[in-house]
Amino acid sequence: MPIPRTVFIFPAFVSDYLEDQSREITGFTNVFYPLLEQAATLIDPELFEFHPVTKNFLDQELRNQLISYIQSYSCARLLRSRNIIPDFLAGYSMGLYGALTDAGSISFKEGLFLIINAFENIFSTIREGDFSMGIVIGLNKEDIKGLISKTDPLTEISNQNSEFSFVLSGTTGSLAALLKMAKEEGAIHTRKMQVGIPYHSNFLKEASTGFSTFVHSIPIRQPTVPVISVIDQTLIDSPGRCSTELIRNLFQPFNWYQTHLKLVGLGVKTFIESGPVPGLVKIARFIPGNASYMTVLAALSAPPVSDL
């Protein structure tokens, strides 16, 4: 009988801190604050003022992403220190940086600089445009593709979260038109996200060129744990694959739904969201199957199946 496996999943951003569990996770602050201090010293002193309620940077995309990276890496270290060891790692969108850091392919410091460099390249690419991302729930992929064909410039599917849940990128005008059409077509829910960067779309292809130069300047190491590509669901098991994934992760669409299915096929029974604010756990509710999604708090209270 195969041994049930565990995956750590790394979020990209935090959308709100209403369900923040950081104070309840024993030992979290002991790991998080030294890393936050390190990041503040290296790249941005204001980061050290972070507070989940009074100064959470939710309206500042780069700082939000940096905080999410520091939090998720802190959680992974904490889990490992309690002997909860993953068989696989997966990064949701820009959560890739956290996954590669936990895999040992890049250092914590290199992760910080990768995030900043990617952001700078993206910003210089899209500064002339007005972009957004949005969510459509309740339509299938064919319905969405049909609606996309009616937008100009074309919007793009950035990610599929489940059979009936999609994330889209586009210009703000095109996306608004698509969300309106989706609602008329029978979408259960549509929403414009508080994101001004069209991640995982061709709008960012140009940004990947400059970012590629920076990625190749980093001595990326062999991952100690396989990281699954959320783009094509293959296992990233070499430094070269890590570099390729980092670069294409900016502009290629990913499929969280297929990634989940692939991991379940590889024997994964437990998905642990490596972050203090449940986000991916919520998304997973609509993915069928018997695998369980756990927060760090739950995982530390009740070890995953593979550790029993």
Binding site: L18, I137, L139, N140, E184, G186, I188, H189, K282, R285
Partner: protein, 102 residues
């Protein structure tokens, strides 16, 4: 078109109440038909979707999600009671749900 009985209504109520109590981590006794799903329970659209799937499986329903979506645009649901009412209509009329507005 399915025949709706008192038993069906009680089943649907029980499923909806239990579902939201578990998902929203509240005691079932605090939920009633006037409970607002978003404001009082912090519910969301994914929960709605999940619940629809539960009923589709339980009653072997032939209905497309977008049919429900189109109906919901004209008949928005805010409370548990409204959700139960809509669910009863879905079970009764399935893909003929939109015919109710004609």
């Amino acid at each position: 078109m399915a025949r709706i009985t008192e038993t069906t209504l009680n089943e649907v109520k029980e499923i909806v109440y239990t579902f939201f109590a578990e998902e929203c981590e509240v005691d079932k006794s605090v939920i009633n038909d006037q409970t607002n799903i978003i404001k009082d329970l912090d519910g969301d659209s994914l929960m709605f979707l999940e619940l629809i799937e539960i009923f589709k499986k339980k009653y072997n329903l032939e209905i497309e999600l977008k049919t429900i979506g189109k109906y919901a645009v004209k008949h928005p649901v805010s409370t548990i009671g409204e959700l139960i009412h809509m669910q009863m209509l879905i079970i009764e009329h399935e893909n003929g749900l939109l015919e109710l507005d004609k």
